[in-house]
């Protein structure tokens, strides 16, 4: 439990909590980018350089921008949304809190997995871009192809859905 981990975790949790708690949707997304960046930093700290940069590129560079765009396009007029009904709000919050409680308890109580672990490696295991590329091209080539297909389908699907019908555009 190093200092850097504590700081990064605090930043991440703060960003994410703000993202889920702020009233203004755009502020939410901006806070979200902080959270995403924090997670990317955690990846870097864990030695997964490639994944960390990919995280920044995809989430900060694409998903957040996309979300911002969607917010801009759906909030043409500020709608006064009333706060959710209190019982439902409480129920949702209780469920989330209970999930955390149960997960935390599971992590703490499950001593088995911790004992089964090998002695902690001091340096992070190496995962160079070369190794990742080799793995992608050999062992994981089929998933890679499928993901490529999925992304293509998602691209086309997103365009088709968002384009809407012709008449509506006129």
């Amino acid at each position: 439990m190093t200092a850097s981990f504590t700081i990064l975790a605090a930043i991440t949790v703060a960003g994410m909590a703000a993202a889920m708690g702020l009233r203004n949707a755009v502020h939410c997304v901006l806070a979200l980018t902080v959270g995403f960046a924090g997670i990317a930093a955690l990846y870097l700290q864990l030695g997964a350089q490639f994944v960390g940069f990919t995280q920044v590129l995809v989430y900060v560079g694409a998903v957040a921008i996309l979300a911002v765009f969607a917010i801009m396009m759906t909030q043409s007029r500020p709608s006064a949304t009333p706060a959710p009904r209190a019982p439902l709000w409480a129920a949702g919050g209780a469920v989330a809190a209970a999930v955390f409680a149960v997960l935390a308890w599971a992590i703490h109580s499950n001593a088995l997995s911790v004992q089964a672990l090998p002695p902690q490696p001091e340096a992070a295991p190496s995962a160079t871009v070369q190794q990742i590329g080799d793995a992608l091209m050999h062992r994981f080539v089929l998933p890679l192809e499928i993901v490529g297909l999925l992304l293509t389908a998602a691209l086309i699907g997103a365009v088709v859905i968002a384009m809407g019908r012709r008449e509506e555009m006129k």
Partner: protein, 391 residues
């Protein structure tokens, strides 16, 4: 002697670090490098503004700045003092926090990219394993800053400008990355240092710069076009087109924040140009083997200045594009060409080394280029333009 001259800054840093306790040495080493980079490129920014105004003036048959200092050389200094002393106006409706953070984030993001750019031999802040990926990841932060600036101002013009800028940056990021992938494909590494090292060898007197291969040349041209769009420069400067939306997303900024936007834009432009140099023009490598005695950083900055001059030249020459033309260029021309270029690079990899792969790869790039260019030209119909969304 030449060795020392080449490594003089590295040696100086080590000499300075020697005075410090070992525990804080790595931190101080990074700090020193960062300070040096910020100072050098901020100075370059000042020089470039002068150069740009002067050069544009000459192209437009004017004199350009000529009052402050000899040949107007002190003009950037005067500009800086002016912007520092101006009143900082924030619109009443603006989102203050975001409005303040936007220029800071922009400048920070544009400086972050320099961490992986090798400025000279052994002169790089960090040699990251995934350096090129890092560069592009950090570059995508700028989009966020642009959005923050546009949105927080609560002004129609800035919001429109931001939307335009983001759409343009996202669109051109794809060909930008794809154009650089050819180099990665060839070197087999994402590390900028490794990429430059691969180019710093010579056959006879000629260097192995990637720009001297068919796919490299095409990749370089495509990269530069995409980089121009990415840094919102003319002829792709729609987001800040004065005649339409005045200054785009930073219209509501004034004083020092305005200057920060300017700085951020130029620093970003330098970073992309430096990336182009690293990827295609051999980084700090000398253009001929007999010129290797010239210190490597000098070569780097010479190339950088040459590219900046080219940017200025283009800005003074070409008219601005329309939005749909801009998008069509990205998706209908740049994207297919980068993909074809990728194919050419792949063919180059798999063909045996020799003369044969030169014409083959050149043909793979040139023939689709001609066909595509012809096709796009023919498709153009001249008719009354209809505005789909505004009516």
């Amino acid at each position: 002697m030449t060795q020392t001259l080449d490594q003089i800054f590295v040696l100086a840093k080590h000499w300075l670090l020697g005075f410090l306790p070992a525990a804080i040495q790595p931190f101080c080493s990074a700090l020193l490098s960062v300070v040096a980079i910020i100072l050098v490129f901020a100075t370059l920014f000042a020089i470039t503004t002068w150069l740009e105004r002067k050069g544009l003036g000459r192209m437009q048959n004017r004199l350009g700045p000529n009052r402050v200092g000899p040949c107007g050389l002190l003009q950037p200094l005067a500009d800086g003092i002016k912007s520092l002393t101006k009143e900082d106006i924030v619109p009443a409706a603006a989102d203050h926090a975001v409005h303040f953070m936007a220029p800071v984030l922009l400048v920070a993001a544009s400086f972050l990219g320099y961490a992986v750019l090798p400025i000279g031999r052994n002169m790089v802040l960090t040699n990251l394993n995934a350096g090129v990926l890092y560069f592009f990841a950090v570059g995508s932060l700028m989009e966020l800053a642009v959005f923050m600036a546009g949105w927080s101002s609560r002004s129609k013009y800035s919001l429109l400008g931001a939307m335009r800028a983001i759409a343009q940056m996202i669109s051109y990021e794809v060909p930008l990355v794809l154009a650089s992938i050819v180099v990665i494909l060839h070197t087999g590494s994402l590390s900028t240092v490794a990429i430059v090292d691969r180019q710093a060898v010579y056959t006879g007197i000629w260097p192995h710069w990637f720009v001297f291969t068919p796919w490299g040349l095409a990749g370089f041209v495509l990269f530069m076009v995409a980089a121009t769009a990415e840094s919102n420069r003319s002829p792709f400067d729609l987001p800040e087109g004065e005649s339409e939306i005045i200054a785009g997303y930073y219209i509501e900024y004034s004083g020092f924040k305005f200057a920060l936007f300017f700085l951020g834009e130029y620093i970003g432009m330098f970073a992309t140009s430096a990336m182009a140099i690293t990827l295609f023009l051999g980084g700090w490598a000398a253009p001929f083997s007999f010129l290797t005695w010239v210190p490597s950083y000098l070569w780097f900055f010479a190339k950088l200045l040459a590219i900046i001059s080219a940017f200025i030249w283009v800005r003074g020459t070409l008219p601005r594009l329309r939005m749909d033309q801009l998008m069509n260029l990205a998706w209908q021309f740049m994207l297919p060409m980068t993909l074809i270029n990728l194919l050419a690079a792949g063919v180059w990899q798999f063909m045996p080394a020799g003369v044969a792969r030169w014409p083959v790869c050149a043909a793979i790039v040139a023939v689709p280029f001609l066909l595509l260019a012809r096709g796009l030209k023919q498709k153009r119909k001249f008719q009354l333009r209809t505005y789909r969304f505004s009516q």
